[in-house]
Amino acid sequence: MTHDQKKQLIRIIMCLAAFFAVFIADKTLSGGLVGVIGGKYGWLLPFALYLAVYAAIGYDVLWRALRGILHGQMLDENFLMCIATLGAFALAIYTGASGLAPEGFDEGCAVLLFYQVGEFFQDYATGRSRKSISALMDIRPDSANVLRDGKTLSVDPSEVKVGEIVVVNPGEKVPLDGRVTLGSSSLDTRALTGESLPREITVGDSVVSGSVNVNSHIEVCVEKEFHDSTVSKILDLVENAAEQKSKAENFITKFARWYTPVVVGAALLLAVIPGAVTGNWQEWVYRALSFLVVSCPCALVISVPLSFFAGIGAASKLGVLVKGSNYLEKFDKADIFVFDKTGTLTKGNFAVVKVSPESDRERILALAAAAEKDSSHPIARSVVAAFGGTPEEGYVLTNEAGMGVVAVKDGKQVLCGNEKLMRAHGVEFLPETGAGTVVYVAENGKFVGSVLVADEIKEETREVISHLNSLGCKTVMLTGDNEHIASSVAEEIGVSSFKASLLPQNKVEEVERALAEKRKRDVLCFVGDGINDAPVLMRSDVGIAMGGVGSDAAIEASDIVLMRDDLRGIPLAKRIARKTMCVVYENILFSIIVKAAILVLTAIGLANMWLAVFGDVGVAVIAILNAMRVNGKYAEKPSRQALKARTAA
């Protein structure tokens, strides 16, 4: 609570106490406060007491209302609230002066009092939620310890130039993007990527600004200036996210623009027409005044953008950056997912996926590794990596171009290569039909086995695809691989369709075509790793780039960035989008229905000003609290569909 809020709270509590003291005295004394003086001027005592409380709680509202009039802001909420409450007082004076028991002093006073209570809660709740959301984005480094002339100086990160060395002590944030030049430590990148496991770094590794150094002192050579570094890019992006307004927000702003004048107009009509017809001015003026109390659309105007912002905040905490509430809104409706294969569905690196016969795995890999150990080809590297140990030395290696390697040692000959090599040496072999590149291994003219090398499918791919399928989404894979490999990969990961043998430029055409074919309400997402698919990311309805840390092009071109190279960010974002939109619709419907109901009840005389003040501030507070639900926990509880999909898979 800020100092001002504390002061306001004390004022409210004291005024509440004073109000109830007067109120109870009025109700318990026989004849009420009117009876104390009695006679014609009996109403003066309750009037004076309530007016004192009214002034104490409402002087600022009155002052703002006055200032509003001077500035030509007639439909300002302060002004309307003053008219309503002062009107209630006036009615009470009127009844009191005409010799009847005055009613309404308490009401006029209470409405303003509760209005202030509500405003206080509203202020407090928005302040809290704003803080809790922006706390998520608290990744801005305050200072950098830069080494200059052998001394460590603490300066603003924006003053550090490329090539300078900064010292990062344990517990501090890495201020700028760079490369470690001294020391090794582990980095907590949770604030950036949502990844909870710390990342081990040592000399030569690149580090990203905004991550927190956990164990020990390191020195980093700066590679990017502050305005170019990851942390400023992310902050810019999140701060500008509020600028991309969603349809729901635009609707609300438009609604709010007309709501107040319409309600005020209705209040005027309500006072004048039935008043003139029935002659019961007092009753109808009272109803009209109650209208004014509900005429502020604040609940809606605050809660809808707040919900979106909470959604964006919650997503960014989990390493999913959403560039605007319009994208969150669109992503909720997303039902066509087009994936780039390499680097997105697969790891984009080659690895041994199968050795046959499996029983001879060790021996086959050992022979293949010995033969391939000097090659820099990715396939050869993956074979050596799969073997794990140090390949046997001493072989004389001869490269047979386009076929493979022949390795000879102590009269032992090892053949390692494709089927052409086997045929050339007259070796009978068992063909391997799996998708990928096959390496056959033979020893002394006899076939030993084969190794299948393929692009590794990410471990989460199947789970994510089947989850999306279970939500009724269409999943499409785009790849440059040939039909055979593509179809076997597509089958394995379970995408609903695929397009093979595509050159990079064909991907744009393919997405264009999908965009042209889709129904109007469908939303097409393209998911890529951000490497040379910027045009497709821009062209699709929602472009999702993966592995955003360090890839500026991807951050620029996409609408949603998965900071971690993990597809599970997609269902996660989907869940957040769903929840956000639910809360947004709930808030819109709830506020409009409650306000409309109160207006109707007031018009027919079933509601009074007490209920009206709830319709104003109570609804706002409830809507704000509801909006904060969006900022909840998502990581721990997978949705029911996901669980179902997992058991099915």
């Binding site: 909420e77 701060e239 604040c298």
Partner: protein, 72 residues
């Protein structure tokens, strides 16, 4: 030119919307967005008249919500 300004003491969401409308009406403003949550105004306006437009914008904001100050 596009610039971001902090709004101090903006405590009414409807006022933010009103400010946005008022500033958008100034001649030479391409786009303006007032965010109640981030307490910021992003103003995109003609380069050569920017200072003048900004002055008008500050005035308009003060009219809508006198308690709120544009930090320049």
């Amino acid at each position: 030119m596009k610039k971001t300004f902090e709004l101090v003491g903006l405590d009414c969401a409807n006022c933010a919307a009103k400010m946005e409308r008022a500033v958008a009406g100034i001649d030479g403003v391409h786009h303006v967005s007032v965010s109640f949550i981030t307490q910021r105004m992003v103003l995109d306006a003609d380069d050569e008249r920017f200072d003048d437009i900004l002055k008008q914008a500050v005035k308009k904001c003060r009219r809508v919500e006198p308690d709120c100050k544009v930090r320049i």
